[in-house]
């Protein structure tokens, strides 16, 4: 709680002073932004052109015609058909203009160009998984500047909605169907220096990475916010991720390669912990014993749990693997069957890593491997 408050004091003035942002809008980060802002301004100025004279007229009437009680009105004119027709038909012309402008821009935003870079998006309570193909999944959306990008989106539970304010782009994600959206980012993310990043990493050691506080991703990129804007239950407001725009395709490819699998120098426990934070486990399963949407991972491995069906189950490799692939098969008593399946999204090594991570944080796990895991983790750091 406290770090966020500190960051409020720290970041707020700088954000308002940001020259890229206007009073009304976040930064213009995509090719749509200019178009949408233009239509917005068009409507704003037309509205003001009506609102200000109308209110001025009302104020003038109030000044001029407030009379003592009982004074008769100067006029009792009850209608004036030409005047009324004018103010009915005149504004209609402007309305048609707004409608046409809005629709033209809308059609642009609906039709992705041929050969757009395609990223799969899976929305779930309460997180995002972006699918970069070849088994690479990551919660952050990484794309390339000036490259039309198409998102093929699906939801595993309820309706979500993907919204990137900087791109002026939004689309609901309705379970049971694919919804698509596209945009062309025009502003690349910046990367902070390695020293600065190391400093930030040291600050947040032991806690999950706070994007709002640091204003960069754990890899040191500045980012655009990505929100869920269709109400989806308890942690709707936590269902946020970030968009990183890379300067070149090569940079993105390098990033994808780096995130495709566990590197040979990374321990399974460390990789498991990374996946735990990265793939949305942390939203529902605590590691400090707090009861969230799902059972806490603390001391879970090796313990015995009653199931909703009445049986008991020993949490071992088989049960963990099954719960990841088919989460609704054996639901622990007292919890709702709400976890999405990760079938096809985690490699065997990923699942093994998560198991190793669970072992490392459980007192119930066989002691020997746990000790080994700890030492390995240290060496990995």
């Amino acid at each position: 709680m406290f770090p966020a408050n500190e960051s409020l004091a720290m970041t707020f003035p700088t954000l308002l002073a940001d020259l890229n942002e206007s009073f009304w809008f976040p930064i213009q980060g995509s090719s749509f932004a200019e178009e949408v802002d233009w239509v917005y301004d068009l409507i704003l100025y037309i509205s003001l052109a009506f609102f200000i004279p109308m209110m001025a007229f009302m104020a003038w009437c109030l000044v001029k015609y407030i009379k003592a009680r009982g004074t008769k009105a100067e006029s009792q004119t009850s209608h004036n058909t030409p005047l009324e027709l004018t103010w009915s038909i005149g504004p209609s012309v402007l309305l048609v203009w707004m409608f046409v402008q809005g629709s033209i821009s809308f059609l642009d935003m609906r039709t992705p160009p041929e050969g757009s870079y395609d990223v799969g998006v899976q929305a779930f309570k309460w997180g995002w998984t972006m699918d970069y193909g070849n088994g690479v999944f990551h919660p952050e959306l990484h794309i390339v500047k000036d490259e039309p990008t198409k998102l093929s989106m699906r939801s595993t539970d309820v309706i979500h909605s993907l919204f990137i304010p900087a791109f002026r782009a939004k689309k609901d994600i309705v379970p049971g169907r694919y919804n698509y959206m596209w945009f062309k980012p025009t502003v690349a993310s910046e990367k902070i220096s390695d020293e600065e990043l190391a400093k930030l990493k040291k600050q947040s050691e032991g806690a999950t990475w706070d994007y709002d506080m640091h204003q960069v991703t754990p890899e040191g990129y500045t980012f655009f916010d990505l929100y869920c804007t269709e109400y989806c239950g308890k942690n709707h407001s936590e269902m946020q991720t970030v968009v990183v725009v890379h300067e070149t395709q090569a940079e993105l490819d390098a990033w994808i390669k780096a995130n495709s699998a566990r590197g040979s120098d990374v321990s399974q426990e460390a990789w498991g912990e990374l996946l735990y934070n990265r793939r949305g486990c942390a939203g529902c399963h605590s590691i400090d014993g707090t009861k969230l949407v799902g059972p806490s991972f603390k001391d879970l491995y090796g313990s015995e749990h009653p199931l909703a069906s009445g049986d008991n189950v020993l949490v071992d490799e088989n049960y963990v693997r099954e719960s990841i692939i088919a989460p609704k098969a054996k639901v622990v008593a007292g919890y709702q069957p709400v976890m999405p399946s990760y079938k096809g999204q985690l490699s065997d090594d990923d699942i093994d890593s998560i198991i190793a991570f669970l072992k490392s944080i459980s007192e119930n796990a066989p002691s020997e491997p746990a000790a080994e895991a700890e030492s390995e983790e240290e060496s990995a750091e």
Binding site: L62, A73, W87, F99, S103, I159, S237
Partner: protein, 580 residues
């Protein structure tokens, strides 16, 4: 004494005797609970909707206080987000179903429709009483269900969230279903009353505009509410039997629910706002002492809004993934509704021009209404335009927009109406100075609350967020301080009214100088409203009113209009119970 300064023949109905006064003509709690008098039912509705508003308003304050801090200020602990979600659901559901929809039609409409018509009661007094009890039962059931089960779906019950959440959606939707019947009964009653009980001489175009607005509203209530009822029943069937209409897990389509829901709920927006237009037309004309400008355009535009309102529900779903063609058609239809709404505002302004404006408390609310509703209407253009809606949909811009329409529109008109007809309803005058101060506080507080939210939304702050990014904090805090001021203003207005009951001066029949029929009977009206069918003229013809400064009242000066023939048979309807 003072009559010396007035022309000969000045008429004023004077004050009702205790036996005539509908408030005192029979006593005891049962005489209220079993009353068939539309005025008493209207007053009971007024107490009911104001209580609902108080609950909804406190919940709104809780929401705003929670959002003082990005991490959440009001609620804390592991369940903070859950509590926040339940609170905004409660706030929305109570305000929509228990306050805004019944406020003007059921509370003020019940009191005013028959009196403005010069009728003795509504067409079906028993149906009227039953609609109140349905509302009361529905409200009790609804509030209990909401509070006990902690509903967290939002007032819209969107599927598949509502078919999968473990809170008691069924109880809450049943509550809304019952409330729907109350709404239908009221609408039906008004349609029959206005169609059949107008006095001799009151043609359609001699009707006060409030009646036109009520009539248009009633049409929507009767036609649209059943759709909501069916949708909610389908939702219950989906939850219990998995019939596969809305839930993709059973081959349903969640967007179907949105179509059904908004097919009612968009017209419902006009159930909320059309009666408000009616009130404002009365208020501006009476307090400017000038004939309403463009009577026919205003009357026709009410009907046009009621009809067009049925065609625009799709604009709630521009981002849901409808086909491009459907989306564009809905956008175009949406723009058509803005024309009749704009016409009304222009007409109100023209009515004030060259009038004799009294800056009374009701007029203060009417002026606020014109200001706030114009903002509400103009910001609707940003949401009806497709390109901008994609950015603004489901952000605080939408929250601000519909609060400007519903609170800045309906609530302000409701308050204006209450202050305008309060002397007629209770026979007491309130303190004008304090009334005006309260109106000013409400106006400032309201703008303080919702103006910052337009900026929040444009900058990308999504709605229904329990916690938010720190860069939005300042605007959220401004909004919260505005809400506190608004709360103070509303409380102040309430106190002004309550004090008037105890200390207020006795109200004359016509304190403002209105020409519609309700000002021709005593304040409060006698049990049967009028001794004989009243003389019907142009409801906005102010020529024959004179101000009696000594008694602070308006009197009618033209006695020679033709009265209804004396031979009119004295009607003592069955529900009169032998009393006159």
């Amino acid at each position: 004494m003072s009559n010396a300064t007035l022309p000969a023949g000045a008429r004023d109905p004077g004050y009702p005797t205790e036996r005539e006064n509908y408030l005192t003509n029979s006593s005891g709690i049962l005489s209220w609970l079993f009353t068939l008098d539309h005025k008493r039912i209207g007053l009971m509705y007024l107490v009911g909707v104001m209580s609902a508003f108080a609950i909804g308003g406190l919940l709104a304050l809780a929401i705003r206080l929670h959002l003082l801090d990005p991490e959440g200020w009001m609620f804390s602990g592991a369940e903070a987000n859950n509590i926040y979600n339940q609170v905004f659901t409660l706030h929305g559901a109570i305000m929509v179903f228990l306050f805004i929809i019944p406020s003007i039609p059921a509370a003020l409409g019940n009191f005013l429709v028959p009196v403005m018509l010069g009728a003795k009661d509504v067409g079906f007094p028993r149906l009227n009483l039953s609609s109140f009890y349905l509302w009361l039962f529905g409200a009790f059931f609804f509030v209990t269900a909401l509070f006990s089960s902690g509903l967290d779906t939002g007032w819209t019950f969107y599927t598949p969230y509502s078919t999968t959440t473990d809170t008691s959606v069924i109880l809450a939707t049943l509550g809304a279903f019952i409330l729907g019947f109350s709404s239908i009964f009221t609408g039906l009653n008004f349609i029959v009353t206005i169609n059949t009980m107008r006095p001799p001489g009151m043609t359609w175009f001699k009707m006060p505009l409030f009646l036109w607005a009520t009539y248009a509203t009633s049409i929507i209530q009767v036609l649209a509410t059943p759709v909501l009822g069916i949708t909610l029943l389908l939702l219950i069937a989906e939850r219990t039997m998995h019939i596969g209409i809305f839930d993709p897990e059973f081959n349903g389509d969640p967007v179907t629910y949105q179509h059904f829901f908004w097919f009612y709920s968009h017209p419902a927006v006009y159930i909320m706002i059309l009666p408000a237009f009616g009130i404002i037309s009365e208020l501006i004309s009476v307090h400017s002492h000038k004939h309403i400008f463009g009577y026919r355009f205003i009357a026709y535009s009410s009907i046009a809004i009621a009809l067009l309102g049925f065609l625009v529900w799709g604009h709630h779903m521009f981002t849901a993934g409808m086909s491009s063609l459907t989306t564009i058609v809905f956008s175009a239809l949406t723009f058509t509704v803005s024309v009749p709404s704009a016409i009304k505002v222009f007409n109100w302004l023209a009515t004030m021009y060259k009038g004799s404006i009294s800056l009374t408390t009701p007029m203060c609310y009417a002026i606020s209404f014109v200001f706030l509703f114009t903002i509400g209407g103009l910001t609707g253009l940003f949401l009806g335009t497709l390109a901008t809606d994609l950015h603004l949909h489901d952000t605080y811009f939408v929250v601000a927009h519909f609060h400007y329409v519903m609170v800045g529109g309906t609530l302000i008109a409701f308050l204006g109406g209450v202050f305008h007809w309060w002397p007629k309803m209770v026979g007491k005058l309130y303190n004008e100075t304090h009334g005006r101060i309260a109106a000013l506080l409400v106006f400032l507080g309201f703008n303080g609350t919702f103006l910052p939210q337009f900026v929040l939304g444009s900058r990308g702050m999504p709605r229904r967020y329990a916690t938010y990014d720190p860069e939005f904090a300042t605007l959220h805090q401004l909004s919260t301080f505005g809400a506190l001021l608004l709360g103070v203003g509303l409380l102040y207005a309430f106190i002004v009214l309550m004090v008037s009951l105890v200390k207020g001066r006795r109200a004359p029949a016509n304190p403002w100088g209105g020409v519609t029929l309700e000002w021709q009977c005593t304040s409060p009206p006698p049990y049967y409203n009028f001794e004989r069918p009243p003389v019907v003229g142009d409801p906005y013809d102010f020529h024959n009113l004179e101000w009696d400064a000594e008694n602070e009242r308006y009197v009618t000066t033209e006695p020679e209009r033709k009265l209804a023939p004396e031979s009119t048979p004295e009607e003592v309807p069955a529900h009169a119970g032998g009393q006159k």
